[in-house]
């Protein structure tokens, strides 16, 4: 990865976008799906009605837009930054989703759940610190 100040600033900005938009997308999808009635039914007729509600929910579309923004930012930052640098940084998304879930949806994050999320962040960070190449170079 290049080490100029401009590239660092650009990378931090893109990482901030990744860490914000991935959890925000999931929170918005969650908000949208909580407003869909009959979503717990497995009957085909009920599922058709659910599909109509999903398509007409602005929160679902905002969630999809957020996830697309995350995806574009992820692809863009990978064009100049190493995967082994980007992936561990994105592990903090799991902590951000807990904060956003608490702040925007009023969800309760118990100490056990918070501990679990912290352990997951650590695990994803460790996975991300391994070499991205797992096959022999061609």
């Amino acid at each position: 990865m290049k080490s100029s100040g401009g590239v660092h600033l650009k990378t931090y900005f893109m990482l901030a976008l990744i860490m914000l938009f991935a959890p925000l997308g999931n929170v918005l999808l969650g908000k949208g799906m909580k407003g869909v009635s009959g979503a717990t039914s497995w009957q085909p007729s009920a599922m058709l009605g659910v599909a109509r509600q999903v398509i007409s929910s602005p929160f679902i579309w905002l969630g999809v837009a957020s996830l697309l923004t995350f995806f574009v930012a992820y692809m863009v930052v990978l064009s100049w930054a190493d995967y082994s640098y980007v992936q561990p940084a994105s592990s903090f998304s799991y902590a951000v989703v807990a904060v956003l879930g608490y702040l925007l949806l009023g969800e309760v994050v118990t100490p056990l759940r918070a501990a679990g999320i912290a352990v997951i962040c650590l695990g994803v960070f460790v996975v991300g610190r391994t070499s991205p190449r797992t096959t022999d170079p061609v």
Binding site: N26, L29, T40, E107, R113, I117, C121, V127, T130, T134
Partner: protein, 124 residues
């Protein structure tokens, strides 16, 4: 039970989809022409690989399963437990793509599984 089934679909279909797309991209070859027409040609070439269609279908299944789980469970529960896909991804990469997985990666996967267990227990 329903949560477990949806989580299974999210993790297995999502990871399976990514593995299928990965295999399809290796068959389709490397992107060398980044001009719009070149990218369109590449996408059309990738779509001729049957693994790509299977991958897209599996990823769509995972997305709709995620929506289903978000309808019945808290976001702060659903998103963390989907980290189980790191374990499925490592297993799939080893068995399906014949990749080498380092000890450190297995350690990371184990830590993720411990975290997912804690989050799952927090639902009780």
């Amino acid at each position: 039970m329903r949560e477990a089934l949806l989580l299974f679909l999210i993790v297995v279909a999502g990871t399976g989809g990514e593995l299928c797309v990965s295999r399809a991209m290796k068959t389709a070859g490397e992107v060398t022409d980044f001009r719009p027409a070149g990218l369109v040609r590449f996408v059309l070439r990738a779509l001729r690989v049957s693994w790509m269609w299977l991958g897209v279908a599996l990823m769509a299944t995972a997305f709709f399963s995620l929506l289903g789980m978000l309808a019945i469970e808290a976001v702060t529960f659903v998103v963390p437990v989907t980290a189980l896909s790191y374990a499925a991804g490592a297993l799939g990469a080893k068995l399906f793509l014949r990749e080498r997985i380092s000890t450190q990666r297995w350690v990371g996967v184990f830590i993720v599984c411990v975290g997912v267990t804690l989050v799952w227990l927090s639902k009780q």
